[in-house]
């Protein structure tokens, strides 16, 4: 049984809380980025690019067993770290859940404070796009 979005979010908050200073938190984010599985080059197309990010971000989604599976990548490692977190939380969840969830954990780990307005906008477009995919699958 897939853990709930909230539970996974809390898990991530706990993991980040283990680190006291930003440098260790960044190191952790970098590790998460490196752990993100490589994606097939066929997904790295213009249509999958999320606009509004300072680095290139590709996001693709498919439906498997009534659940939404996300496939994403970026050319910047920190961004990949953020993507890895979002995928861990949202990928494999039901469309309905993805649409209605609020992603409190992002605020709790202080990620928004770390990002400038333009970068936070990038993060928001990423989340928005994930929800749009979920919405599309829900109606199918």
């Amino acid at each position: 049984m897939q853990d709930s979005i909230e539970n996974i979010g809390e898990e991530i908050v706990d993991e980040f809380n283990m680190f006291e200073n930003w440098i260790d938190k960044y190191d952790y984010l970098i590790d998460l980025g490196k752990s993100l599985p490589k994606i097939d080059e066929k997904y790295k197309v213009e249509d999958n690019i999320i606009t509004g990010c300072q680095s290139q971000v590709w996001l693709h989604a498919k439906q498997e067993d009534n659940k939404v599976v996300f496939i994403a990548d970026s050319d910047a490692i920190m961004t990949k770290g953020i993507i890895a977190m979002l995928i861990r939380v949202l990928s494999g969840q039901k469309a309905e859940k993805i649409i209605n969830t609020n992603l409190d954990f992002i605020n709790k780990i202080g990620l928004n404070e770390q990002l400038s307005q333009t970068r936070a906008n990038g993060l928001n477009s990423m989340i928005k796009q994930m929800k749009i995919y979920a919405l599309a699958f829900k109606d199918k």
Binding site: I23, Y26, D27, I30, Q54, S55, I77
Partner: protein, 404 residues
């Protein structure tokens, strides 16, 4: 004796801490920090002098008008223009170029040509694309070489009697290249074409003499000269400015208005519709006073020392390549580290208190030419020190280690 330490005392922001580290500000090509006298003048204006200029007969209006016009006089002397009314105040370099491009779009026609280069900031490219769209003129683009210099043979070949305007940057904001504008102006004037030089990156780093250069139009921003944001200059030769149609309509730029017909004011007001950034223009004079007190040549000499020092230190870092290696460069270094995204590097440097710029620097064609998605860029000003560069280089090494 040039002392950046002494100069720093007049820049209060340089004492601040960012992310628990002393700020190292190396994003001067984006904007420079502000001199104390500039900051004081802005606040004094609003505390004691605020009034609209040119139209009022009352004391405050006279006072602010006089001060506003004193800055125009200062700018005239700073660039050695022949006439004070050849100095047009704008919102900034981008605004200056848009003004000129708009006016030119009204006089260019099909068959005419405008020449720009591949190294232009988008601000000196997009307005000319728009101008050529409107007027049906043709835009020609001088390519750059691998080291980041203009292909002068292409330029010579393309210059013809069809050329009406050449619009080129004095110093490249993403590569640091100093273009041979003296030669370019001379070549341009062998035809009937006029020339605009985008001096955004040059005005605080090179001694200017528009008469000696014989340049037709020159523009720059106050905020890259230790002055306020929202103030720019368009210099133009009197005869040419008189010939061009006005840009924006409104108050100040008129001589006489009836419901069907308006006659325009004389220079410089013809191009200055609406209430300008009065406080900013007045404070800009203080920035010019500061530059003239230190001497722009002395600043340049100091920045050249920093440029050479930082270049050598960066070149020692494995896998780091400097983008833009022209023999004549200003205090701008763009670089990439193989396998590491500039965004990641910038984020970590920020956490260490170092402000740099990452991305395409509004020069996407340059990035394309150099085959990179973006770069990390450090850029110097008169107040930067070797100690700051040592710290920055250490931070870059640390970031690379984290990201590898």
């Amino acid at each position: 004796m040039y002392s950046p330490e002494n100069i720093r005392k007049y820049f209060p922001i340089l004492d601040s801490e960012v992310n628990q580290h002393k700020l190292v500000y190396l994003d001067n090509a984006a904007t420079t920090q502000k001199h104390q006298s500039v900051i004081d003048t802005v606040s004094q204006f609003y505390e004691k002098e605020n009034s609209n200029i040119h139209r009022g007969v009352h004391y405050l209006s006279q006072l602010s008008t006089n001060k506003f016009e004193q800055t125009r006089e200062s700018v005239k002397n700073f660039i050695n223009a022949q006439h004070t009314h050849e100095v047009i105040f704008t919102k900034g370099t981008t605004d200056s170029i848009n003004l000129l491009a708009f006016s030119y779009s009204k006089i260019l026609k099909k068959g005419d040509e405008v020449i720009v280069s591949e190294m232009e900031h988008h601000s000196n490219l997009v307005p000319w694309q728009m101008c050529c769209d409107y007027s049906q003129a043709t835009l020609k683009v001088i390519p750059i070489t691998n080291s980041g210099e203009l292909d002068m043979s292409f330029f010579k070949k393309e210059l013809s009697k069809k050329t009406k305007l050449v619009a080129l940057t004095h110093i490249s904001n993403s590569l640091g290249t100093i273009n041979p504008i003296e030669k370019i102006i001379e070549l341009t004037h062998q035809t009937d074409a006029k020339i605009l030089i985008d001096g955004a990156q040059a005005a605080a780093h090179a001694k200017l003499d528009v008469q000696k250069l014989d340049v037709d139009f020159y523009c720059f921003s106050a905020h890259k000269l230790y002055g306020p944001t929202g103030v720019g200059v368009l210099y133009g030769k009197e005869k040419l400015l008189n010939m061009l149609p006005p840009y924006q309509g409104g108050g100040e730029m008129i001589k006489d208005v009836s419901i069907h017909k308006t006659t325009y004011a004389e220079l410089p007001h013809k191009f200055e519709a609406g209430t300008p950034n009065i406080a900013g223009v007045i404070a800009f004079k203080k920035a010019i006073d500061f530059i003239e007190e230190i001497g722009v040549e002395n600043m340049k000499e100091h920045e050249d020392i920093l440029l050479n020092y930082a270049t050598l230190k960066l070149e020692e870092i494995p896998n780091l390549s400097i983008i833009g290696t022209a023999p004549k460069k200003s205090g701008i270094i763009s670089f990439v580290v193989s396998g590491i995204h500039h965004y990641d590097l910038g984020l970590i440097l920020d956490k260490l208190g170092v402000a740099i710029r990452t991305g395409h620097h509004c020069t996407q064609p340059v990035m394309k030419k150099m085959n990179v998605s973006g770069t990390s860029r450090i850029s110097f000003a008169c107040y930067n020190t070797k100690t700051e560069l040592d710290y920055t280089v250490d931070c870059i090494k640390k970031a690379i280690k984290m990201l590898s």
